[in-house]
Amino acid sequence: MTSDGSAALSCRDLVRRFGERVAVDHVSFDVAAGETYGLLGPNGAGKSTTIKLVCGLLARQGGTVVVAGQPIDERTVDAKASIGYVPQDIALYPDLTAAENLRFFGSLYRLGSKDLGRRVDDVLELIGLADRAGDRVDSFSGGMKRRLNIGAALLHRPALLVLDEPTVGVDPQSRHAILENVAELGDSGMAVLYTTHYMEEAQRLCDRVGIIDHGRLVAEGTHRELVSLVHEEDRIALGATGDLESLRSVLSALDGVTGATTADSTVHVLARDARRLLPRVLEAADAAGADVTSVEVVEPDLEAVFLHLTGSALRE
Amino acid sequence: MIALVIAGATIRRTRRDRTGLFFMIVLPVLIIVVIGSTVQGGDRFPIGVVDQGSGEFGAALVEDLEGSDSLDVRRFDDLEALKLAVRRSELAAGVVVPRGLDEQVRAGGSVAVGFLTQPSNTAGLAAREAVESIVADHSALLTAASFAADEAGGTVTDHLDQAQAATAGVAPLTVDTTVSGESRFLPLGFTYSAATVLVLFVFINAVAGGGVIVENRRLGLYERMLAAPVTPRAIVAGETFTYVLIALLQSLLVVAVGGLLFEVDWGDPLAAMALVLIWSAVGASAGLLAGTVLRTAEQAGAIGPIVGIALGMLGGCMWPLEIVPPVMQTIGHLVPHGWAVDSWIELLSRDGTIGDIAGRLVVLGGFAAVLGSLATFRLRRQLTA
């Protein structure tokens, strides 16, 4: 935990090439203390590579990485103690028990034996595997392994937790549990760097999102900021019977409404802030005597943002 | 037939596996070459000679030794080096021609020529015979000349020529040896190694090959096959056929290499073929059983050679069962290798025919049947579980 409010992570101009291909092209971003930052991009965008550069798993060909005030490079490995790394695959020893796995990885982070013992118990408790501590990992279900996978990164109380696409190929229930866990950790004050190609996750979990494509960070900011970048507007779709045309003109005159159209038996109202406007729209419709059968609020999402910025879809 | 399709797939996978090919093809050939060249026919015994400064008589003795057809002589400068070489078994024996031999003989004395060998080194014992006879002949010359000098005056050197002439003139006294009886051993040399390599390696590779079945099971291939209109019986038949075929091919390789490159005579062709076929069946059934019993392919790779070597040792592949205590000989026949080696002895050392080994072939067939039934029973249970 950084006490002086400086960034948990600060990356500048990260570069990594594989032969001719540039996988990470001068990527720079910060993760503030206690912030959950998401790297959002399709497969092959360079998310995992960036993560590996941050954690010191791949050699950097350019740029700097500073974690909790300390630079990371090949010679100074101490800063790695501030990072908790959760890899995309289950990185555990199947022939060792849960407790043995945790103890081993914890010991690499220089926790003293007494502290380590306590931390192992605490983490097992946290991830709900306290009663399976002495069982071999190859006897666990997929969900349990995922939980342990995250647990192993928490032993040393890192300032920054890094998760690389933790929900890929995971069943809905486990996925829900993982997202809950990460949200809790973020709420408790841990800085989190989270990569994903699922827009819902980024939206739900992250304070800020960096959109990455073909190795470049094309935009970053809060959800609002990103959405406003592309001037997308909220849309309220009112299903109604009766005189739709007059309803349309009444609604388009409302303060905050930027436009209204009709299509089939629906009136689409475009607005800046649909949530705040919704009560007034419904009031106005009621006053106009229209019979509203359905209401749908569609807020622009990151998928739309991504499409707008890069010209390609977030998911194939 | 479906079984053949399955067999074909397994064979194709085996062929692509370069390590497997090394074990099946390169290694046995390598072993035949190494073992064969080590277990020499025993034409010439390697001995070392050190001349510690004897003089011309001693030098003449060394030359006589070098001229022998049954000795391969290496000269040493140092007695300790000679002893070391004998202790290492690099030499069958060593001969020490002592300092001052000439003077002693001229003075009419008797000189001891040293013989060094390891007590139970059989080659050493045989070499001794050859060395003894050369030393004796050489000694006879000197003794005669010395005796003549005593009786008629003059020096030893003076009478050497006369001694030579006398030796040539004396009527020959020889030992004539006739060898008889039926051998209980395999003939030495390449034949020995080729036959035992055949028995040993077909078995080892078959058991290690059981790993493929384990892999297939692990990868869920059998489940996938069973989802198609394929019966468990067809799968079992297919795998069995594969194993027998691979074992047979490997046997034929060893037979060919042995016969063509090293002139191994495999004995009566019909009997040899029957023995090769039945041994392939034994190996194949052992491999199948291993495939159903072991849990990982790795285990097969580790256990295969170990079990194979252990059984080979018990059965007489590494050394003849003739020379071990009776209880070990009995144990040796509790494993199929013992019976296979016995059969080869019959064919290669005693010119046996198929009739002579019929009983043993039946026993081997029994081993194959028992192992095979156990294997197919287990495999079917695993497929239908």
Binding site: - | V34, S110, S120
Partner: protein, 387 residues
């Protein structure tokens, strides 16, 4: 460094939990040694049972019979008197090892100065007994021949021929100028188990190359290698940790086999200090070979295959399977290109009584091999952990 020890400890824990590793490293070599000692443990001394057939009845036949019963030959030879047919049948059946036959008219021919022949009937499977019997017969005839030559030479040289009989007696009484005498070789005899116990132990040690190389790629595939790399330790610590685990495993394995085979099966390894030095050097060579296999391979399967090939080729060339000392020069030289070949030579020398200092050259040679291998691994390794 701490991390190195932690990683080595983890590797060892996994290794000892894996049953095949225990079997290969400990059970197998002990089992094989046990089999050998059971087969050869009761060292039988050479003893031949032969028949003496005297069809001649003359004094030379009796003289030969006396030679056969001298006390020096008692240990090695048991002599039965039989007639030819009986003896021949027994030799054929294998009941007798050999038979020595003095044919009729032998003495007469010899005394008359004519040629004569002794016969040896040998069993096909008793070449040693035949050799001993022939040696006795040859020795006897040599003496007879030598006397003849001596007398003839003396006469030729101008000795007085008044009393040939007395001359012959004096010739017979002359000691031979040179005689072959068995001299002590020093040291101990190398028995089979003292050669094969280290041979098999080292062969199974070579298997460790495959285990460790495969585990490296497994860790790479499973991601635990990355997880270790993310921790605050130098990348070299991971490789060092694995190397240390091989060192401990290998040394433990070899030492256990050495101790057990010495105590239980009577194998002679040599003085403890020298043995330890060779063991350590050999294990270091295995560490270097493991590093090379990892450096050169790309996948688990490649590593497994390459390790197996290396293991068997080295074992074959180095003499772990066959007694390479009796092989032709070329093979013996090839054996000394391998670390295990040097180790076996070192153990053989120590076991046959050479001083502890004889281990120095083998140890240095093995270390040179290890150094070259390690250098090759470093060159082809190119950043094994951080890529």
């Amino acid at each position: 460094m701490r991390a190195v020890l932690l990683i080595a400890a983890k590797d060892l824990r996994q290794r000892f939990r894996d049953r095949s590793a225990i079997i290969v490293g400990f059970a197998a070599p002990l089992l094989i040694s046990f089999l050998m000692s059971a087969a050869f443990g009761g060292a039988e001394d050479l003893h031949a049972t032969i028949a003496f057939v005297d069809e001649d009845g003359g004094e030379l036949g009796s003289a030969l019979e006396e030679v056969l019963s001298i006390p020096e030959l008692e240990e090695v030879l048991t002599v039965e008197t039989r007639d030819r047919a009986d003896a021949a049948a027994r030799v054929d059946d294998g009941d007798l090892d050999a038979a020595l036959v003095v044919p009729a008219g032998f003495t007469t021919a010899v005394i008359a100065g004519e040629g004569a022949e002794l016969e040896v009937l040998a069993g096909v499977d008793a070449p040693l007994s035949a050799a001993i019997t022939r040696a006795v017969a040859e020795g006897f005839l040599t003496q007879v021949r030598a006397n003849r030559v001596a007398v003839a030479t003396a006469i030729d040289a101008g000795a007085p021929v008044t009393d040939i009989a007395a001359l012959a007696e004096r010739a017979a009484a002359t000691a031979p100028a040179t005689a072959l005498e068995d001299q002590p070789l020093g040291g101990r005899e190398l028995d089979l188990i003292s050669y094969y116990a280290p041979g098999m132990a080292i062969f199974f040690l070579l298997y460790a190359i495959g285990f460790t190389a495969k585990s490296y790629f497994t860790e790479q595939r499973e991601g635990t290698l990355d997880r270790m790399a993310a921790a605050p330790l130098r990348p070299s610590a991971i490789l060092a940790g694995k190397a240390l685990s091989v060192l401990v495993y290998g040394t433990t394995s070899l030492t256990t086999v050495a101790v057990v085979t010495s105590l239980a099966f009577g194998a002679e390894w040599g003085p403890a200090g020298a043995v330890a030095a060779i063991v350590l050097a050999m294990v270091l060579a295995v560490v270097a070979l493991t590093a090379l296999v990892i450096a050169v391979s790309r996948t688990e399967r490649q590593a497994d295959g390459l390790a197996s090939i290396v293991t068997f080729t080295l074992a074959l060339l180095g003499g772990n399977f066959v007694f390479v000392a009796t092989a032709p020069e070329a093979m013996r030289r090839a054996a000394l290109l391998t670390p295990n070949g040097w180790a076996l030579r070192g153990f053989t020398d120590l076991a046959t009584g050479s001083a502890a200092s004889s281990a120095v050259v083998p140890v240095l040679s093995i270390l040179v091999f290890a150094a070259i291998t390690a250098a090759a691994a470093a060159v082809t390794g190119r950043g094994l952990v951080t890529r």
